[in-house]
Amino acid sequence: MSTTRRAATRQLSVARVTSGYDRADVLKEVSIEVRPGEVTCILGANGAGKSTLIRTILGLNRVRAGAIAFGGASLAGMPPHRIVALGIGVVPEGNRVLPRMTVAENLQVGGLLEAQPRKVAERMEAMFAIFPRLKERRAQLAGTLSGGERSMLSIARGLMTDPELVVFDEPSLGLSPLFVSEVFAIVRHLKAMDLTILLVEQNVRQTLDVADHGYVLSQGRVVAAGETRMLREDPELHKAYFGVH
């Protein structure tokens, strides 16, 4: 991004958080730390609680017990839009775009927190520099884009909030291998710009290549944690995916 931004300084801390849907607890006393300027990944099989963890951090699911903090601010009980306003950008699961709006309008929605039109325009130009494809399609309805283009738009919209921490929820899901590589290239690019990244993924190999730290979730609990080069060898990681005991 061409906008001059300060280096990331705030840490996201999730401390012994329990959360879930209706009466069932899906997460049980989960603790993770997302250090400023680093890429932290959450790995785990389907149903391990990855999405619940992300939804709880973002205020979409209620925190039943425990605490979540970003820098000095407590996030538990805060509505999602205020969490985003603190500097947490979100690329939601499933490359969701606003289908009946143009590409440019989708980006403007991401820029709604910024009151100055000039800054929104600057950020939009920065997005078009990273994603030239979106510039070509700026007047097209987002619902008519290809899967890869949607994922680009979804990422760009998340970045339009000018975040310090970007949360990616399974960005490679449903994308062709070519686009998966492109998504990971973007994550690297953002890391080089000193953004903090929380990456939730199923794609283990490429995720471990890009991440600094990682956590492995299984049945709603953290079963392994550490630097990715250690995590790569951890038997818990293989168990979490293949159920090998």
């Binding site: 509505p79 979100v90 289908p99 709604l112």
Partner: protein, 305 residues
């Protein structure tokens, strides 16, 4: 049948059409943003008209300036309807967001009844029709055999301006962008930093302000309002929105003009049956819904709110 007579009816039809369109837009906006039908909307129209009447009477008792009375009456109507719309939206509709839609339908139907009866009981002698002062110039424009009141011209032009302004607001402003984002995907909207609750309440305020203006215009045109006028107006607005395409922006406008058009057509062709103009219009609505179950415009996805 002479041209002047036809032109006059056509003109009245256009004027009613724009008023119906304003009411229908409210239904469409509420449905777009929350997927709910708010059946108290017709009574919010009535509330606006009565708030205007009260303010106009008050101003008239202080200074004899009809222009000022009109402006303040309009403002009072908008304020009262907006407040009612936001209170109903915030206390009855939003908390029931995850409940079955029929609950919202029922509860807003009840809220409308309460509002209607409160007007009847709260206004002195409220059960009877109330004369609405003629505040617009009383002169007529004559072109050959065509003669039209300046008041009607004013209402039509003002109504068109309000509809165009609403379209502009929804398609071109920050609030409109937020409204459309919430309508298309509330979760993505929140995660982009949009305040869901504020946007929904803003939508209720916008729709209710349109209802207030419609109520004032009906009062100015018919020179009379009554506590139950919202009943049939609500049904007409709802029907116009459904025929045009509930949730779309241009659909309800089209639906409003269509409904008034059929009413006018009946009045022109069978003057003796003009009392049945609503019956004919609703019959056309039923037929059109049968032919286009999703509305006339909703096929064009780009225009949904």
């Amino acid at each position: 049948m002479d041209i002047g007579f036809l032109a006059q009816h056509l003109f009245n039809g256009l004027m009613l059409g724009v008023i119906y369109a304003m009411i229908a837009l409210g239904f469409s906006l509420f449905f777009g943003v929350l997927d709910v039908i708010k059946f108290s909307h017709g009574d919010v129209v009535t509330l606006g008209a009565f708030a205007a009447l009260g303010a106009i009477a008050f101003v008239g008792s202080v200074v004899p300036l009809p222009g000022l009375a009109l402006v303040l009456g309009l403002l009072a109507a908008i304020a009262a309807s907006m407040a009612a719309g936001m209170v109903i939206g915030g206390t009855l509709v939003l908390p029931l967001r995850n409940a079955p839609p029929v609950n919202v339908l029922l509860i807003t139907l009840m809220a409308g009844t309460i509002l209607r009866e409160a007007i009847r009981l709260g206004v002195p002698n409220g059960g009877n029709p109330k004369p609405f002062p003629a505040l617009l110039p009383d002169r007529r424009i004559e072109i050959g055999s065509f003669s039209v009141g300046i008041d009607s011209v004013t209402i039509l032009l003002a109504g068109l301006a309000v509809v165009v302004a609403t379209h502009h607001l929804v398609t071109r402003t920050r609030l409109g962008l937020a409204i459309r984002a919430v309508a298309q995907d509330p979760e993505v909207a929140c995660l982009s930093g949009i305040d869901f609750r504020r946007t929904v309440l803003g939508t209720f305020a916008l729709g209710s302000a349109l209802a207030a203006v419609a109520g004032c215009m009906l009062g100015l045109y018919y020179r009379e309002i009554n506590f139950s006028m919202g009943l049939v107006l609500g049904v007409i607005g709802f029907a116009a929105a459904v025929v045009g395409g509930l949730g779309s922006l241009l659909g309800p406008i089209l639906g409003g003009f269509l409904f008034a058009g059929v009413q006018t057509l009946v009045t022109i062709t069978v003057p003796s049956a003009s009392a049945y103009k609503d019956v004919a219009a609703f019959a056309v609505v039923i037929a059109l819904i049968g032919l286009f179950p999703t509305g006339l415009i909703s096929e064009r996805a780009s225009e949904r709110v």
